[in-house]
Symmetry: C4
Subunit: 233 residues, 4 copies
């Protein structure tokens, strides 16, 4: 049971998604990455959250080989693998179909920065990828989903440690973070940002993005060297 | 008590609808079909969910004759009967007035395939029937509701095992499945699809349906011979 | 304690409003009428629902005189009195500020019959009163609110036993019924109708009202001599 | 433990915000002011609500000096200080990112008086401040947020005891009251007003504000010398 802690941590993150109402039935998954061993624990495929046990989690390496576990891993596992390989410094990935974030993804639109709730977490719009090409769909689909995310970040020079969330067009949100718990937190925040931005644009469809100075001020309250939010650790 | 198990299964499905917030008061019903005996257990008419007991369920045959039970069966029973007679391979039917699906039914519009959440379950728009003719309304109304659903599927060559959900115009959703539990699951999913499609079209009313390649990819991940979602049974 | 049962019944109805999430803090009230004694028990003014006790309820006669109780009665009491005097056959009145029904009242629009969920309860649009005149506002305001409702029904020949709900313009919903429990039920149903109609018109603002034949069919399934919904009592 | 009661009161108010679903994670804060000692207890910065203890609260004076407590105070503390200094008679301040109120703030629009639910609490639109100038953003940001609120009230001659709520443009709501519990109450009410106004304008974007006579009537039922709502104390 060498991976007991990693599996329990991944299990707790998956259960937290369910407890926070981001998941219906089996529609989502969270993984926890061991930065030193370069392996991660992920939810098995298609097991309902109310039956899920810590021992059900599957440990996988970055070649998608099962290291521990008897169940089949989540069908989205290869997307997680690509993110762990290409986004250095992250140790958790989460995928959900939470309704407001998924609606923005289906509308194929990035979520603009309209207020400080957004800027507290992210200085830029939450990006939406382009629709995947037929080529990629016919290839290794879940791996290509990861590639699509990474390409979107690379082509636009988006820093993946500053924008820890993305909308995959016509599909839904993925988030990550330096811990699995932070990735879960980001999924909850993303759904809330998506909802408030949705409501704002119903009140005034022409509202402009928030001014840059206010975006930077709020982000830097919480991040970087001169941050002053939270308790010193 | 020959039908004890069937009644309990039907009761559990009805209670699950209530627990998942798809039902207010007595607005809905689930039935469980015994494929060999060709009979089904259904909720009695107008009994609130918090008073419902397994022994209250009524067992009915495909001629709408009561086989077991002392209460009057749900007023929608004949709709269930038609579906069990005409849609081979199904063993559960559910009817609710869940708000988003009902809103689409009242708007008399099919729900377009806008994302993978939809395509995971169904390769086509969730169809909406035409409005029932005055002739049919004045006839055996609940049986005609079943006929309207079956006609809509036949005229459009919709495969009833691939699209396990329908909106009855100006009324609300019906779902079915190869088990009663699957029919309940389909009702929960339909409400979620209906809600996310609603939100998507508020963000961009002109968003096109998702490309066919992506629809097929997602459906075939979960269904058919080369599916790879879930655990092998 | 002559009125113990009436007070407990009124208390249970008030608590049910809170349990069904139709009430925030003290924003609503339910009363229970004794048809023979011509008196009713109502919530005291401004007492939060989580502190409310059955013994707090105030018994009032149709001249607004307190018959039993030490607390001040709800500020909306006189509206209840008018309804009990003018609408024969009712034994319960409820007022809430539930959000969707209140939004329709603030928009000063009747809720059109768009589907069977509405027609199951009411054959016509849920009427919205005109805005109260300055004269009436400066008079005995709460009594005039009752008069405004009654006038709206009289001028339009609305049958108060067929339409057991109304929107008071710029204010919110009132419902009634042959029992206090039915009045509570009608408030829950009204909020649901208001919500589904709201959603329907966002999907298609031009959707026409449901055809008359279908309205009548659904209403008569549940009401009148040839009704066949529910268990025979 | 001289400030035990003040800290407990502030803690209870913070927990009530969480219980009423106005808060996600650490997104909000409530403070309780001791009018005689001119000090207030406030939530520490960045501590999740489910871990918060009464002893964690920080007591601060009106020069932002910590009087008691070992944790860092909320990053919004200086905004609270300005309000306690400039708004005489208040003893509680609350800040949340509740979704409907925040959406109005992001749309940079005041919430119009569309019904009696609003007028029961406030005779005027809930004001939205202008967007903060770059000068102020670069200065002492949280103090300037307080100044922006106070300036908005002074320039428009808004009485701060009649309008106990404000939207800070692109940010979110602040509320206050003569007790900390009243400030919490006002945050709950504001979210409800914001939601019902949002829904009303979706039904009819052109609906006019409610007539002045009805606004005054409802406000004066609950406030001032001739109020008659609630129990006499």
């Amino acid at each position: 049971m060498a991976y007991r802690e990693l599996k329990e941590r991944s299990w707790r993150c998956n259960m937290e998604l369910s407890r926070r109402n981001l998941i219906k039935y089996t529609f989502g998954n969270a993984s926890a990455f061991d930065v030193e061993k370069r392996m991660f624990a992920i939810k098995p495929s298609g097991v309902p959250y109310d039956e899920l046990q810590p021992t059900d989690m599957v440990v996988v390496d970055l070649d998608n080989k099962v290291v521990e576990g008897t169940l089949k891993f989540s069908s989205d596992t290869k997307t997680h693998t690509v993110l762990y390989r290409k986004f250095p410094g992250i140790a958790g990935v989460v995928h959900t179909h939470s309704p407001y974030a998924t609606a923005w993804a289906q509308a194929m639109k990035s979520i603009p920065v309209l207020g400080t709730t957004h800027a507290d977490h992210c200085t830029r719009p939450v990006p939406c990828t382009p629709v995947m090409s037929n080529e990629m769909i016919k290839g290794d689909y879940e791996e290509e989903t990861g590639n699509l995310i990474v390409d979107t970040f690379e082509k636009n020079s988006f820093p993946h440690r500053e924008i820890e969330m993305v909308l995959v067009a016509c599909h839904g949100p993925f988030t990550w973070g330096e811990t699995p718990e932070k990735a879960v937190y980001n999924s909850v925040i993303l759904e809330e940002l998506a909802r408030i931005a949705f409501l704002t644009l119903r009140i005034d469809p022409g509202v402009p993005p928030m001014i840059k100075e206010l975006i930077d001020k709020h982000y830097l309250r919480k991040h970087g060297e001169s941050s002053y939010y939270g308790q010193t650790k």
